[in-house]
Symmetry: C2
Subunit: 442 residues, 2 copies
């Protein structure tokens, strides 16, 4: 970080704001900026002045915005002299990356809600912000108004974070919750989520876990003071989860949630690695995360001194996301008026990202096996030989007695050992079908 | 706020720290400062240098601290040239007030965990900090490492907060939880809390609600950008709660918790007031706050755009409190190195504190009445005449039929109307005893 600093424009000076994008979030940001103008001026020490709004379609009606402020030349807008802060709520990666870099290099502070951009290019963006001594804020990129970014960046700056895990995608939680509550299939629950506006027309980014993976990358980077990018996150979505999986889980006292799990791992030699992953996870139905319903988000942070902290709220939607953007905007504007700068990205610990195969996980394996004497003993021996200990074994009667149902829950073992074991199991004559394999946590 | 600013000492420069007080929290702060020295230096941009520790008894052994650093002259320590930041973890009000004011006036930033001091004298302290352009941090004053102060001050700076409520005192929650779980009396549960270290030798500040009231004052001040002091908070403790109250509540589907409730109230003419209160409160047992067990804290914040947010964690204890102090210390030190200043107190909205009598509340009234025809109709008429509507009425058989038990739950009405009604009830011939009156929320 440079040691020169921004002395500030001085008390009472207006702070020029450019907004890029006028979708749901952008519209709410502009509306709330206008509605709360007096309060924001008092909190900042000077008024926010909206200088321009970049949109792709100039002909679309934009109620509540002076048409003179609209422009389709975002590149020119972000470099304008009267703009101090650029708010990026476009979405996508390449186009906003160009604009945000250009803004930072022109000495503008940037507030973005764009998790994909931050998870892919934080290095480059942080370097540009450092270079110019400007702010780069992105609270809205993770769990909307739940202030987990600020908490990791500042409140827990005096602690060591060991684990961050939770529900960070509202769409998939809505779908899994609907499946659990109504018994609906994945397809029907997704259709309902789309109808109600919880899922986008193309739900890929949500249901395949990509959105959650971007958030996991951001949380792991901040929490472990290291660089974890989107591509470093092991990611599995919920498209393979069936109504049967959910019913079977409930019967066994579990709930299936799509969790983001970020961990600090200690190697045998005492060195450390980090890991970030997103996958459907069985958690005990008594765990607080199991009761997180609809599109809500909840995030646990385990820290050395603070212990376990939990944050819960509405993790998506125009207004909650706008709340996070505006909190960042007030912060960035305060610095433009009074001088100084918020703590930037700091990846000093520079911990390597562990191979997913080395990460300790636990499996819940549901399978059909031949109903012959000695099957269980034989399988148990195979697990023991692979160094995997079993936590619970349940054998269930099956109606026509042609086979038995076996449900195994393992203790922690390296992911690769567990995955290899499942592969070998499915090749055994005694094993008729591995019905489902879901990781377990909590 | 002054428009001059602190330009910072520059990257790599050491930041001198004085710690006042070496009780549980002070000891953990010093230990963790030493254990995490490298991490903190990387996060701050310069090393923290412990310059002195003020203690009242120089002869007491202080393992882990260089004896040369100990002093019993706190007044001299806070003004020393090599001290940049003063950490106050003494407790009490008058003595730490003198020291903190002296430190601020000498240009030192201050980090305090002292809720009583902040709730009583925030005005004066904030003015001194503004005057010198230094930081005054107090995250640890409310709910230890649960970062609710930072969240109100920064993350939600772009939103309007309407209500803050929750469990902010671990000792009383431990006692109420023990009473509910084991059926213990208040006295026995208090004794157990003392034995286990959850209650202090003199538990007055906790069980009378004073500690929670200080926290409510701080939360209301930050949340509503107004000045709410300890004396503005209506405060009732838990000493009158009996095992019977708790059993009766459980039977009716309620749990009794000591809640701090801070509200923005809108008058009929559209003007606004604020209110902060602490009292035993019945909440539905299905409400997440009802499951907050042992000494844990949980705080809900309802904001206009963000919706309802919840924060949960360990709200007391040496290490969690030290985590909050150290987070503040890293923040204050970063500003000493890089320049600038955290957002100070800002009470621009300056909303008046409502008379407690005008605050809308709801009552749960448990009473014994004569078992005669028409009693219920007569009482219901009296409530209606007072403008109080009843939400539920339950009449229960009593064993020997000499009287009936009547349990009334009201809708919201001004506190003074409800309190007046209860007073009049207890004077009626038909009412043999008003067994308990507890407010209801959630």
């Amino acid at each position: 970080m440079s040691t020169s600093f921004n002395p500030g424009k001085g008390e009472g000076q207006p702070v020029g704001v450019a907004v890029l994008g006028m979708g749901t979030v952008g519209t709410d940001v502009i509306r709330l900026m206008q509605e709360n103008a007096d309060a924001f001026e008092a909190r900042i020490g000077g008024p926010l002045a909206l200088k321009g709004v970049a949109v792709s379609d100039l002909d679309k009606p934009r109620p509540g915005v002076d048409p003179a402020l609209l422009t389709d030349d975002a590149h020119a807008l972000v470099e304008r002299d009267d703009v101090d802060i650029v708010v990026e709520v476009i979405g996508g990666i390449d186009y906003p990356r160009e604009l945000v870099l250009k803004a930072l290099k022109a000495g503008k502070s940037v507030v973005t809600a764009n998790k994909a951009l931050v998870a892919a290019h934080a290095d480059e963006l942080a370097a540009a912000a450092d270079e110019q001594n400007v702010d780069l804020y992105f609270e809205a990129a993770v769990a909307a108004a739940i202030p987990v970014v600020g908490m990791l960046r500042r409140s827990l700056a005096g602690d060591q974070i060991n684990r961050i895990f939770g529900i960070v995608n509202g769409t998939t939680n809505f779908i899994l919750d609907a499946m659990a509550t109504t018994g609906a299939s994945y397809e029907d629950a997704l259709a309902e989520a789309t109808r109600l506006g919880y899922a986008e027309a193309d739900p890929t980014a949500d249901v395949e876990g990509h959105d959650a993976a971007s958030k996991a990358a951001i949380l792991a980077s901040l929490g472990f003071h290291s660089r974890v990018k989107f591509n470093d996150v092991h990611c599995e979505g919920i498209t393979q989860i069936s109504a049967d999986d959910i019913t079977a889980a409930a019967k066994a006292g579990y709930t299936i949630k799509l969790l983001a799990i970020c961990e600090r791992l200690t190697n045998e030699d005492g060195s450390e690695q980090v890991s970030a992953r997103v996958h459907p996870t069985l958690i005990p139905s008594s765990h607080p995360l199991a009761s997180v319903s609809k599109s809500f988000n909840a995030i646990y942070v385990d820290a050395e001194a603070a212990g376990s902290l939990m944050f819960y709220g509405n993790g998506a939607g125009g207004a909650p996301t706008a709340s996070a953007v505006l909190g960042d905007l007030v912060g960035a504007a305060r610095n433009k008026v009074h001088g100084g700068r918020a703590p930037g990205e700091n990846t000093y610990a520079n911990l390597p990202v562990a191979d997913f195969g080395d990460v300790p996980t636990r499996y819940h394996i549901d399978m059909q096996v031949k109903d012959r004497v000695g099957v269980l003993a034989d399988l148990a021996t195979r697990f023991a030989d692979a160094g995997i200990s079993l936590r619970t074994v349940r054998q269930e009667e099956v109606e026509r007695h042609e086979h038995a149902r076996l449900i195994l829950v393992t203790h922690q073992a390296p992911e690769s050992a567990l995955a290899g074991m499942v592969e070998r199991l499915s090749e055994l004559d005694d094993v008729q079908q591995v019905t489902s394999v879901i990781r377990l946590d909590g």
